[in-house]
């Protein structure tokens, strides 16, 4: 078999998660649940200043408190902090209460510095600089194709708009953190992470320990969304506290407030857009000037970083004449990190909004205008499938025409993402009693990776997925890389496929049976002696691809007197390549839609210009979508 089976028995069907029972019963152990013998609580003291020169930090009052076993500074003073929430020091003790007392006992001698937390202000030369020796605004990224000015002159219609997207926080429900034990000989870490290998590398580097002495595990983790690569500063601090405490394990999980300050966000955007089209709807000219902030380090200072506040423009459309100028401006706030399709929601919001303006100006149906200009054959079909399911034609009427204060509205948009696979490895073990184990050094972020591995192995061996034991989230397993950018399924599945193929060849030869799968399985494996079959496999070309497309249509109600918006229904048509588990794929898409609703309607990190603090670092004031906010969602998987 050189590729995926043509008539699969398992692939693409609806499968239950193999780890569902341990998750619903509360017995799944996350990094934050780990309590190795002698464990200590860890907590971080953060800067209350958005900018300050830290002269001295006195840890002695903290260390003298009962129950405190270790305290460390984040850096050796003097050093500069550049956002409210930057790490100053950390403590480890017998209880959370002891740590809280210790944090307030630490004496910090600091000179507050001038700061700026508003993007527009930060652009001006007269405002304080985040870094003394460089302007807040980076060099603009400029791109031009064709003859933009001439194209605008010949366009029949030109529309302009200003669109703004706010900073969004990841707010993974399990906060960032680790349970770490550092002895003179080795480091053991239970991490809440999207990348066990990068956590291992970070801890080894931080503590000067060789890689073979660092063991990182993450069997379950409570959400990452792009923000959980690497050990993080909190991982390094936990490791130092453990060493300082004579090798006792330290569980250092951030608080909910910390999550709003220091562990990533989606950059803001302020987009000035101009679009020109011919009468027939053909887009001919596009101009974008945008700026946004990715925090103090402009997104460059973090692992898996979003790389500034830029985004693809004009997103999914191909306009022959375009001019794009994008600027990332530093402010005194926590740095951005990759967040669920970094750059794309900002890109989509600005571009699809101006396309709607153009449809209105031309008197054209927005779906028709999109089909005319979308270069993707797949999406053009998806618009038609979605329009039919949504009853677009019956529902569309010109904006503002519904009666009364509560207006009905519908909208549509297209999307893309790269994805693709990379060099994962996997190991399959077939035991003489017929049981199967698959090991892979990947991690399951809630996407169902563990189950996906079982499905692939079950397909290859013609067994039931429940018969496959899957072990992941351990750096002693075959390496698999980080789980980000929608690459996990496309990396892991081909490696498991390859390992299963190699295992089957070995089993055929050991058993003397040409086809040991399915009903022959028990008799074939019974012929194995003491040693199991152990076969490795690696990712290879031809079993995964990249570049997905999707289209969504939304129906909303807006009360024009109160401003209350209710999303009633979303139809989504999505191509995601080979679907391995239909049920979990729909779950993922539901989740993306709901996170998108949060971004569009509810979520915004608010910084106070006067004090530089995050004003809404909790769920009372930073609103995540809840049960009442979820519309009817109709997902069509292609």
């Amino acid at each position: 078999m050189s590729g995926w089976p043509k008539n699969p028995k398992q692939l693409g069907k609806e499968h239950l998660r193999i780890d569902g029972p341990v998750k619903v019963s509360g017995s799944a152990r996350f990094a934050s649940d780990m309590q190795p013998v002698g464990w200590l609580y860890g907590m971080i003291l953060r800067s209350p200043w958005p900018a300050a020169r830290i002269r001295a930090i006195d840890l002695r009052p903290a260390l003298s408190l009962p129950g405190i076993r270790a305290a460390v500074t984040a850096n050796d003073p003097p050093f500069t902090v550049r956002y409210c929430g930057e790490e100053l020091a950390a403590v480890a003790g017998l209880s959370k209460q002891a740590c809280l007392d210790a944090l307030s006992a630490i004496k910090v001698n600091a000179d507050p510095l001038p700061f700026v937390v508003e993007e527009e202000a930060a652009l001006r030369d007269t405002t304080p600089r985040v870094f003394e020796n460089q302007p807040n605004a980076g060099e603009p990224r400029e791109m031009q194709t064709g003859e933009v000015d001439a194209a605008f002159r010949t366009a029949d219609k030109t529309v302009e708009g200003f669109f703004q997207t706010q900073v969004q926080l990841h707010h993974c429900l399990e906060t960032h953190g680790n349970t770490v034990q550092v002895t003179p000989d080795e480091i053991t870490c239970w991490a809440s992470t999207q990348g066990i290998s990068s956590v291992r590398d970070g801890l080894a580097d931080n503590m000067g320990m060789p890689l073979d002495k660092v063991h990182v595990m993450s069997e379950f983790m409570g959400g990452g969304f792009g923000s959980k690569f690497g050990a993080g500063i909190e991982g390094g601090l936990a490791a130092r506290l453990s060493k300082e405490a004579g090798g006792l394990p330290v569980r250092l999980m951030l608080t909910r407030f910390d999550e709003a300050l220091a562990v990533g966000n989606r950059p803001s955007s302020f987009q000035k857009v101009r679009l020109g089209a011919r009468k027939d709807g053909t887009l001919v000219a596009y101009e974008l000037e945008t700026f946004g902030t990715a925090g103090y380090a402009s997104g460059g200072g973090t692992a898996g970083g979003g790389g500034g506040a830029g985004f693809p423009a004009p997103y999914i459309y191909r306009v022959p004449n375009t001019r794009v100028r994008q600027t990332t401006v530093a402010i005194n706030a926590g740095s951005a990190r990759a967040m669920r399709a970094p750059g794309h929601p900002q890109a989509s919001f600005g571009m699809e909004s101006i396309v709607d303006e153009m449809a209105l100006a031309l008197g054209m149906d927005p779906v028709e205008l999109r089909i005319k200009n979308d270069p993707s054959e797949i999406r053009r079909q998806q618009y038609q499938i979605a329009a039919e399911r949504f009853s677009w034609n019956a529902k569309y009427h010109s904006p503002g025409s519904s009666e009364g204060p509560v207006k009905a509205g519908i909208g549509c948009a297209g999307a893309t993402w790269g994805g693709s696979g990379q060099g994962s490895e996997a190991e399959v073990r077939i035991n003489p009693d017929g049981t199967v184990e698959v090991r892979c050094g990947t991690q399951d972020l809630g996407t169902g990776t563990k189950t996906l591995i079982a499905i692939v192995a079950a397909e290859m061996f013609a067994l039931d997925p429940a018969a496959i034991s899957v072990r992941i989230g351990d750096t002693t397993f075959p390496p698999s890389g980080g789980s980000g950018g929608s690459t996990t399924a496309a990396s892991v599945a081909p490696a498991v496929f390859d390992a299963c193929q190699n295992a089957l060849a070995d089993l055929a030869s050991a058993s003397g049976m040409s086809d040991p799968t399915g009903s022959n399985w028990r008799s074939a494996t019974a012929r194995l002696r003491i040693n199991p079959i152990v076969a490795r496999g690696r990712w290879k070309e031809g079993l995964s691809s990249r570049g997905v497309g999707g289209v969504q249509m939304a129906e909303v109600e807006v009360d024009t007197e109160t401003g209350f918006i209710r999303v009633k229904r979303i139809v989504c048509v999505q191509d995601c390549g080979l679907v391995v588990n239909r049920l979990a794929s729909v779950s993922q898409i539901n989740g993306g839609i709901i996170l998108g609703i949060g971004f569009a309607l509810y979520e915004e990190r608010i910084l106070d210009g006067q004090t530089g603090v995050v004003l809404n670092p909790n769920f009372e004031t930073y609103k995540l979508p809840g049960a009442a906010d979820v519309p009817e969602i109709d997902v069509i998987l292609q």
Binding site: L16, R17, D19, G20, P21, K23, V24, S25, G26, S27, A28, R29, F30, S32, D33, Q35, Y41, S95, K96, Q97, H171, C172, L173, E174, T175, F220, M221, G222, G223, F225, M253, T255, R256, L445, G446, T447, G448, L583, A584, V586, S587, Q588, N590, G591, G592, I593, I594, L595, N618, F619, E620, L624, P625, G626, A627, A628, V630, I633
Partner: protein, 182 residues
């Protein structure tokens, strides 16, 4: 001023007489907690929450600490059958109360837990025990709740992965099957 103090004292006395408890703290005090049908003796400071005791003293880590201020529901447990945020209860308030955590709702998976698995009503799984407890409380009071009642029962729980549609479906499945003996 004296009047105000007198009022406070009177209030404190009335609480004391109601509770038959002396004011305690700030040092650690001994408590007996009744959790999942078992008696546990713990010694904690009065400022320690029920959630902290459950997770860190009794190793019942099904309830999660997510917001630690009563806004997300991940720490939901039952106190005398009622769903409560265990991060918003002090352990010292829990004397003589019957506490049930996700670990204690059944010897095997309950119908709502089974429905969660069957409907893929979980992704990362961190919020899951909290939703299970909120819905367990709902089904203990009503066998066949409507979708609106299901949503209301979950209105104090947050899920960042966006599992809600499948959670509603799982709860509806239990409501329809009428097998909600939890």
């Amino acid at each position: 001023m004296a009047g105000a103090i007198a009022k406070v004292t009177a209030a404190a006395q009335s609480v004391e007489s109601l509770d038959d408890q002396k004011p305690v703290g700030p040092e650690a005090v001994k408590l007996i907690l009744q959790v999942n049908g078992k008696r546990h003796e713990v010694e904690v400071e009065p400022r320690v929450t029920l959630l902290d005791v459950l997770r860190n003293r009794l190793q019942l880590t099904g309830a999660k600490e997510v917001c630690d201020r009563g806004t997300c529901g991940a720490c939901t447990v039952l106190v005398n059958g009622q769903p409560v945020y265990s991060c918003m209860k002090l352990a010292v308030e829990m004397r003589a109360q019957e506490i049930t955590t996700v670990e204690g709702i059944g010897d095997s998976l309950t119908p709502i837990q089974r429905a969660f698995v069957e409907c893929d009503a979980l992704m990362c799984g961190y919020c899951t025990p909290g939703f299970v407890m909120s819905l367990t409380a709902l089904f203990r009071t009503k066998q066949d709740p409507t979708l609106e009642e299901i949503k209301k029962a979950c209105s104090g729980n947050l899920c960042r992965c966006g599992t809600y549609p499948h959670i509603f479906r799982a709860a509806q499945r239990v409501a329809e099957s009428g097998s909600s003996k939890t």
